[in-house]
């Protein structure tokens, strides 16, 4: 008989973690009070503020797990976790550096040249260098292995031609990690022949055009590469390792607090509004949502603990993202019973603004970073059905 069992161990914590949490909270409260930022929903995607990212870098809250010689602080995954969850629930504008901190930096650490590490990582940690993801294309979304962007070998390097789509934030970034085909297409080995390059976005031949999304935000873009030259040492890892690199980081990318806390800021505001005279019916809806958030957080922390122990809990991470992103949507769908959502920007009312923005952005939650349908396939495979 099969056994469907998952393990979510509690990460080992110490005083320094709670100290750090308090520090971050105090900073954020001060920032809000002094008008440093206005809380936004889905802030890790919709909140762009390079100056704010730089402030966080100065505080030493970016790249915290990296080696000190590259600008990091060699803190634990749990330290990074509490920083990120506090930023998320405060609705802080962290998009500019989010990708670089979460995955591009670790990718460079794992696969970059010594030059890359010394030149780029400290700047990311300082909140001054941002990186976008060049993965999806017009013809390649969920089926990422079908990308058509090609990199041709030339003297001293490669020439890249193709178009990347979505690649959030490229307008503000200095670099993009570009997944390109370097080997011949083989239907029996779909994942072979793919390579990732670290491409400076000010290279000749690069054009970035913003694409507004349905919530009015314009961080999506179309990035076109026309014979863009990069030197040999722009290859991340080795030629042909692209697919392996992308899949190896999935457990980390998919299981973090940004997969269930994107709309918490709306819930928080609603609770402040209604706490004084909450009725039983509202309490029931709130309690049900909160119970689920708490349980998801336990799962998410469990994945962080497993990653820290050296495991690669791909299925557990997929579970967190599948459940969490649907909850992010459900929060608005359930709260609207008490706070109907009709008006864009809600006549300046903060709760209305957070609710309506959340609603307009919610279709993206279950699509980005691997659609929930793809995730369910990963879960099913992990259980032995595929």
């Amino acid at each position: 008989m099969e056994s469907v069992r998952f393990n979510f161990p509690a990460p080992e914590s110490d005083e320094s973690v709670e100290e750090l949490r308090k520090e971050v909270r105090v900073f954020l409260e001060d920032e809000v009070r002094s008008g440093g930022f206005v809380p936004v929903t889905d802030c890790w995607c919709a909140g762009v503020d390079p100056e704010f990212s730089r402030k966080l870098g100065q505080k030493g809250w970016i790249g915290v797990t990296w080696p000190r010689q590259y600008g990091g602080r060699e803190l634990s995954a749990l330290h990074r976790y509490v920083i990120t969850e506090e930023l998320l629930v405060a609705g802080a504008p962290v998009h500019a550096h989010w990708i670089a901190d979460r995955q591009s930096g670790p990718l460079i650490l794992a696969t970059g040249t010594e030059d890359m590490k010394r030149n780029i990582l400290p700047r990311i940690a300082a909140g001054e260098c941002f990186v976008a993801l060049g993965l999806s294309e017009p013809e390649s979304g969920s089926d990422l292995a079908s990308v058509r962007t090609r990199a041709f070998k030339v003297e001293g390097g490669w020439e890249i031609t193709g178009t990347k789509l979505w690649s959030s934030g490229a307008q503000h970034c200095q670099y993009m990690t570009v997944l390109a085909r370097t080997g011949e297409r083989d239907p029996n080995k779909r994942h072979a022949g793919l390579t990732q390059f670290l491409v400076p976005l000010d290279s000749p031949g690069v054009t970035v055009r913003g694409i507004p999304d349905m919530s009015g935000v314009e961080h999506f873009n179309e990035s076109h590469f026309e014979n863009v030259f990069v030197p040999d040492d722009a290859v991340l890892g080795s030629v042909g390792e692209g697919w392996k690199q992308i899949t190896s980081e999935l457990a980390l990318e998919r299981s973090g607090p940004e997969r269930f806390l994107s709309t918490f800021v709306a819930l928080e505001k609603a609770l402040q509004r209604s706490a004084a005279d909450m009725n039983g019916h509202q309490a029931t809806v709130v309690g049900s949502i909160v119970a689920r958030i708490r349980a998801l957080r336990t799962m998410s922390l469990g994945v962080a603990a497993l990653l820290g122990q050296g495991y690669s809990p791909e299925v557990e991470a997929a579970l967190v993202k599948d459940l969490g992103t649907r909850l992010e949507q459900d929060i608005i769908e359930r709260l609207r019973e008490f706070w109907p959502v009709q008006m864009k920007q809600g006549y300046g009312d903060e709760l209305q603004y957070l609710m309506s923005d959340s609603l307009l952005r919610q279709p993206s939650f279950t699509l980005r970073g691997g659609t929930n349908e793809v995730l369910k396939g990963i879960i099913a495979r992990g259980i032995g059905l595929r």
């Binding site: 509690a10 609770l271 309690g287 396939g377 259980i383 059905l385």
Partner: protein, 366 residues
Amino acid sequence: MGFDMEQTDQLILDTAHRLFTDQCDAEIVNCAERGKTPERLRQAILESGLTLAWVPEEAGGVGGSLALGFNLIRQAASFALPAPLADTLVANLLLAESGLAVTDRWAALAFDGGELPALLQGEVNGVVDAAVGAPESAVVVVPVLEKGVVKIATFAPSTIDIEHHENLAGEARSRITLDSAIPGQLSGPVDGMTADGLKQFCAFVRACQIAGALEKIADLTVGYVKERQQFGRPLGKFQAVQHMVADIAGETALTGAAVEQAMRRVSAHPEPFIGDCELLFPLATAKVVASEAAGRVTRVAHQAHGAMGFSFEYPLQQYSRRVWGWREEFGSEFSWSERLGMAIASEISSLGAGEAAGCAWDVVSR
């Protein structure tokens, strides 16, 4: 599994697993519901001392940790164990906590989360609608209230009015009526125990049971869709079915995580029956998540099983009927959600407007 568990705890859990595997199968469970009492199984459990897992050694028990007992309860549920092990464990724990003599036979727990019977001048009056384990019990354990203070009383089954009923799964749930009843044993006030704290504890026991049952339901479903073939291939090869199984896995994992987190918290608390905020949050979370998951998982599992899952003979129904009953007991997801929501609102509104910002997250993440 296994936080706060000593090595000896794990041995006990393994022993129990072997016992259940050897002596409790789907047929035994169905027969038990049809009136054929599983004597051998029940005797084996009593002889193994499992019902005394939560009783300290000096009181004649096994001296296992709280975590051991909860894991045992979860495991027993995954076998649909036709014996009141969970409730006898709780009953014996209450007896030990209150300084009364424990029992090495079955105990009935006459507490269903409702109002406690009242103790006045040595006599107990009240009704418990859904006591567990009464038919085979040697002693009936009743938490009672005397002027707001919780005490534990025991009665011999023959001396009180017991009306036998069954829950949705055919498990005994008896209505016990106490009419100026004089207890066989009566404890003094039990330190650190409130009626609400007791209810939270028992709700959590049900959450552990639901977690065990959902894991079994998930296992049954995966096994079934791998085996059953239609249209030339196993059901599990269809994407729609794969997604259904992924949904079951998600709700089951979420329930397990909530239960384990609560287990860690209650194990670390000096007064597990006090029902303070430290306990309310994790215990209510576990019961809400488990009870919500019960409905979702059973719906999908039955759908994946087709007509076979609807039959009495196939074991799925033993688990779905159990979780449908357990999700209601000691408070459903609705009542515990309301408690949680009100508790959060109360904390937020007790702060000044300036400090309230961020309070919800502070409470949620505690």
